[in-house]
Symmetry: C2
């Protein structure tokens, strides 16, 4: 059977190349797209993620406005910072790096982000619009999964997609996006019974569990397409790659699969938002 390795790095390069051109067009009109990132506290991996996102912006000419708040920041203080960024005309997108420290009401902070600047797709409002089919900025990992599907022209309509995971920024929105593309969608989670039997029916498997090598090779129907959104310690995905590769017709590697495309979707949404302001 022919095997397709879904090369996220290549997909991301394609996205970024076209963004670079769009950023240049915007700059000719006097507008530089700007992503504001907020980091609360000193979690080293969060710091790394925010830095990566800032660097990715820089590479294609997007300004990044980095705000680093101390660990002891209160919810109210964080909300005030978000309010300021909502008001700031230079800022096109706002990214609040999660998790925030446990004493902060993360949901309240997410909800405070202006829908027009919610380029990371974290508000319930944005989620609702996405699920009902007219959202502008779905959260970035689901958007990345759909982008890979589109770039590789993987058929979705009428296919059975099984999503393992139901988080607000991954399992739920990717289920919604696939449903809107006319897939039959089953959403699974920790309480799902007979998970292997359910996954075995899938034409498309989305692994979004956050547990290393959770999805086993004998769960996979011959010819299924596997998209692994997991990213666990040691660069390990949610899918037991070698075993699943055997049965799959197409699969994303980790690293180099969904991850790089996710960041490019954040950049794309930021440019989309800047264009919306500039051209509309």
């Amino acid at each position: 059977m022919e095997k397709l390795i879904l090369d996220g790095t290549k997909v991301a390069e394609g996205v970024k190349a076209s963004l670079k051109e769009r950023v240049e067009e915007l700059k000719k009109k006097g507008k530089t797209p700007c992503l504001a990132t907020i980091l609360v506290g000193d979690d080293p991996s969060s710091e790394t993620y925010v830095r990566m996102k800032g660097n990715a912006c820089q590479k294609i000419g997007i300004d990044s406005k980095r705000i680093h708040l101390p660990e002891e920041t209160t919810t109210e203080e964080l909300l005030a910072v978000i309010d300021e960024l909502n008001e700031d005309e230079k800022v096109d997108g706002i990214l609040l790096q999660h998790p925030v420290p446990s004493h902060v009401d993360e949901r309240a902070a997410f909800e405070r982000i202006d829908i027009e600047k919610d380029v990371d797709g974290v508000t319930s409002f944005g989620y609702g619009q996405t699920a009902l089919g007219f959202g502008k900025y779905p959260s970035c990992t689901p958007a990345a999964i759909l982008r890979i599907i589109d770039d590789y022209e993987i058929p979705v309509k009428g296919k059975h997609a099984v999503v393992i995971g139901r988080s607000p920024i991954l399992g739920k929105p990717v289920s919604a996006l696939l449903l809107n593309r006319d897939a039959t969608v089953t959403t699974c989670h920790s309480h799902t019974q007979n998970l292997p039997d359910i996954v075995k029916q899938a034409d498309i498997v989305i692994a979004a569990v956050g547990r290393p090598e959770f999805v086993k090779g004998d769960w996979i129907k011959k010819g299924a397409v596997i998209l692994d959104a997991g990213y666990n310690k040691g660069n390990i995905g949610d899918v037991d790659y070698d075993a699943c590769y055997e049965n799959a017709s197409a699969i994303t590697p980790v690293p180099g699969g969904v991850g790089p495309v996710t960041i490019s979707m954040l950049l794309k949404h930021t440019v989309d938002a800047a264009e919306e302001k500039t051209f509309n």
Copy 2:
């Protein structure tokens, strides 16, 4: 096998009895809950629905403010009416009867309803909050289905629920509510392949297709619970009742199943909204 007929009329009576008491409490505090209904045009069945809802309000002491706009109402005119009702302190809930005439942008009208008054659960914002687990007013038919499940203590956690239909006010939100109750949820629709095989796996079947007797008896696993949200001409549900009854352990009849509870959920949300204003 023991059979349970899920008696929606009885469930609705229970809901309304408790609402009556809550309305009396509110009136003692000088507040009468008020539902505004908007009907655009002269569709006879829409007129009937709006009248039924108004009468149901009256019976438990809720004021209803009925607004009937002519067929030729423009989107802008309708939005202006909604804006007024959003501002009106006396109005606790707003129901826009759908469908509106085809020249009106129904989605724009729904979206204009203030989230605090969206007791019919039609806004994308309300949908997003419901799906992420903190919505106050899910749309009324999904809320009714969950209410029947609760009243009859039907287990949901870990069960496989198959929802047939994916409309914004029925299939999608009921899928979301069941997922949040820890069911494994499969959402099916017109592009689903092998629908009978998928339904056959369901512990809980939600029929929300809008086609008479669409769900056949041999699609039903022995012991499944069937909730029929269909309401087609001639009082016929989406489920072939007699045939499905054979295999089911519990089933809603049509009429007298989901329908009456739906209206009681609209009343409940209106009272909830009035209490929120009065006691908070």
